[in-house]
């Protein structure tokens, strides 16, 4: 099932790439322009996607013929979105809250979701955020966004 969906997605992406590549410019007098390579990639994606989708269908048929219920993979826990939320949160909040505070909050959230006890969670997130922020802003002089308090 997964292979079928991913295969179709790749096929659609391949078509989109081919269509977009048609608008890339070519130089007069040259037969090949900026569009050739992306078109080849798009074609490859389309072909690979179709092959993958077909093998997905074949797998499902075989499973149905054998009377098996498709093997149920363990569904991922909902907490899988938390790292994503943490990164988006950083991108949106770092300019107002500052890198140090945002990182500490992100890490604290992740610690708590995995059952780290409160005090160690607070201490580790504050110390780790302080070290990371200090190392990158002071030692490596990276202009990380800093909040109104300067960290």
């Amino acid at each position: 099932m997964k292979d079928l969906i991913l295969g179709l997605l790749f096929a659609v992406l391949g078509i989109a790439v081919i269509v977009m590549a048609r608008s890339f410019s070519t130089i007069d007098g040259l037969q090949y322009g900026a569009d050739l390579f992306p078109t080849l990639i798009g074609t490859g994606m389309l072909a690979g996607g179709v092959l993958l989708a077909l093998s997905g269908v074949r797998q499902m048929n075989r499973a149905r013929a054998a009377g098996e219920i498709a093997a149920q993979l363990p569904r991922p826990s909902w907490t899988v979105v938390l790292p994503v939320v943490a990164v988006i949160g950083y991108i949106l909040l770092a300019d107002t809250l500052g890198t140090g505070l945002t990182l500490a909050l992100a890490m604290f959230m992740l610690f708590c979701s995995r059952g780290v006890r409160l005090l160690p969670a607070i201490l580790t997130s504050v110390i780790a955020a302080a070290i990371v922020t200090f190392a990158f802003t002071r030692l490596l002089s990276v202009p990380l966004p800093l909040g109104p308090w300067g960290f």
């Binding site: 890339f24 410019s25 160690p120």
Partner: protein, 513 residues
């Protein structure tokens, strides 16, 4: 000669040596913690190396990689969990030895084999790379096109798993490489009017996303903590006796053939584009078992296979640098990162590296020796204090790694766009990896995409679109034929398996298995 001394001086100074020691400690730590791989260690290191001297930066990467590959053996022997995928091949042997109370002997032998393998790989690199580079000076765009195709196709067709999925993964990498201004016409492609994308997608945020964020997400997707798996009968419950190096000379004398074979095989497999240390370990373990007089002892605490495979994985790390330095074609995902760092440091890989940058090339060779020798003291300390790694749970480390991912991705161009790219690639890598897509082809595609396209376009323009020109020069025809062989490789293995299966099926009823 003066270049050799200058190159050595680039390494033997206080600053670089200090960097090497710190990198070794970092490598031990990341390698010894299950779930954190050597590639992840290197990907996290790159934003920091950005601010170092070129030689120190490269030395840091070499040391971290070599150290992490060895340190992956430590939790394997103590907890039956390989620290990095490269240690997975012989983990059952190592943990069985641990249960017999022979952890120190096993890890001491591992350590010395790793050092020998690494030094052997380094010697091959030093001897082969310059002469190969001289030969490669005659290469034109046709040969480089084929070399890039060779690297990409072996990543897709030789690596284990579905070739279709590997191929699609590769296409994603190639597509990412086309983003930005086109080299031939100068027109923007797939930039969606985002100014930061005009210069193309920087591969470091992609790498951090694929190898670090992806792992963080994997932990948060699992329902129980990883440490639960270690609760079984592990070496920690058994009294450990003996010294680390006491029995090593005897073991090496007994298995010197295995050390040699593992080192040679590992270097060769490492040099093959697309196959890295983990594949080197698996193959040499299998070869060792096949050629052994006691194949039945494998997997039950037999040192022979460990000797082969632990020499091979460290040799593979060095072997991967041969195509990376000479052709700019990475041998594995670590050297894929390295190539990006080399470009950033103005040390462009390619056959002229030994002419334009002889001093730095000698510095690099020296760094390889130092990195492999420093394995001995730091590895010894790590073996003696191994319990530290067992008590550091992933749930404490992963959030800190995530913080590093964010800040590291930002630091490359000082822009939040790179953090978005890191996020998108991490999520995509997580989704693809959980459907059994290999990630390495995508990285190779991104790194090699521009080389592939430029040489392809140059060749097409030179030959006026005549595809036969790709086979007209002898070397390029040879490389083309090699590519064809590799593409057909899955068919060969299928035929071989069928051939092997037939007699096995006939004897099955009598065998009673």
């Amino acid at each position: 000669m003066s270049e050799l001394i200058d190159g050595m001086l680039l390494v033997f100074n206080l600053q670089t040596m200090l960097v090497i020691v710190v990198a070794a400690l970092f490598g031990v730590f990341v390698g010894a913690i299950p779930g954190l791989s050597a590639t992840m260690a290197v990907a996290l290191l790159v934003p920091v190396t950005f601010y170092m001297e070129p030689t120190a930066a490269i030395a840091a990467i070499i040391t971290t990689a070599a150290m992490a590959i060895f340190a992956g053996d430590i939790p394997g022997a103590y907890l039956n969990i390989p620290g990095t995928p490269a240690s997975a091949a012989y983990v059952s042997d190592a943990s069985a030895l641990g249960r017999m109370g022979r952890v120190r002997e096993c890890l001491g032998t591992n350590l010395i084999c790793s050092v020998i393998g690494g030094l052997a790989g380094t010697l091959v690199l030093i001897m082969v790379a310059p002469s190969l580079a001289e030969f490669a000076l005659n290469f034109s765009s046709f040969e480089y096109f084929w070399l890039a195709v060779l690297g990409l196709s072996s990543a897709v067709f030789i690596a284990p798993g579905s070739p279709v999925k590997g191929f699609l993964s590769l296409m994603v990498g190639l597509l990412l490489a086309t983003v930005g201004l086109d080299m031939v016409t100068g027109s923007p492609r797939f930039t969606f009017d985002v100014p930061d994308l005009m210069g193309g997608i920087n591969f470091i945020p992609v790498m951090i996303g694929c190898f670090a964020l992806n792992e963080v997400m994997k932990l948060y997707a699992s329902r129980e903590s990883a440490s639960a798996a270690a609760k079984g009968d592990s070496a920690e419950r058994h009294p450990q006796t003996g010294t680390v190096f006491g029995k090593v000379p005897g073991n090496l004398r007994k298995h010197w053939r295995n050390v040699t074979r593992g080192s040679v095989l590992g270097t060769l497999i490492g040099a093959l584009p697309g196959a890295g240390a983990d594949i080197a370990a698996w193959i040499s373990y299998a070869v060792s078992k096949k050629r052994s007089k006691t194949p039945e002892a494998y997997g039950k605490g037999h040192l022979e296979g460990i000797v082969d495979a632990s020499s091979a994985n460290n040799a593979g790390i060095c072997g991967a640098w041969v195509p990376a330095l000479v052709f700019g074609i990475p041998g594995d995902s670590i050297t894929a990162i390295v190539i990006g760092v080399l470009y950033m440091k103005g040390m462009n890989p390619g056959p002229t590296i030994f002419i334009d940058n002889a001093e730095m090339a000698y510095g690099l060779f020296t760094a390889f020796f130092v990195a492999n020798l420093i394995l001995i003291p730091i590895g010894y300390l790590a073996i003696r204090s191994a319990h530290i790694f067992a008590v550091t749970p992933a749930k404490v480390l992963m959030p800190i790694i995530l913080a590093f991912c964010i800040v590291g991705a930002f630091a490359i161009n000082n822009s939040l766009t790179d953090v978005w790219i890191m996020l998108a690639c991490g999520v995509a890598a997580y989704l693809l990896a959980s459907s059994d897509f290999p990630i390495a082809p995508a990285i190779l595609g991104l790194v090699l995409g521009n080389i592939l396209e430029n040489n392809f376009m140059t060749s097409m323009i030179k030959s006026n679109g005549n595809l036969l020109a790709f086979f007209e020069r002898p070397i390029s025809a040879g490389l083309g034929a090699l590519v064809a062989l590799i593409v057909l490789f899955p068919l060969f293995t299928k035929a071989w398996l069928k051939y092997r299966k037939r007699p096995a099926l006939q004897s099955a009823p009598q065998g009673g298995r």
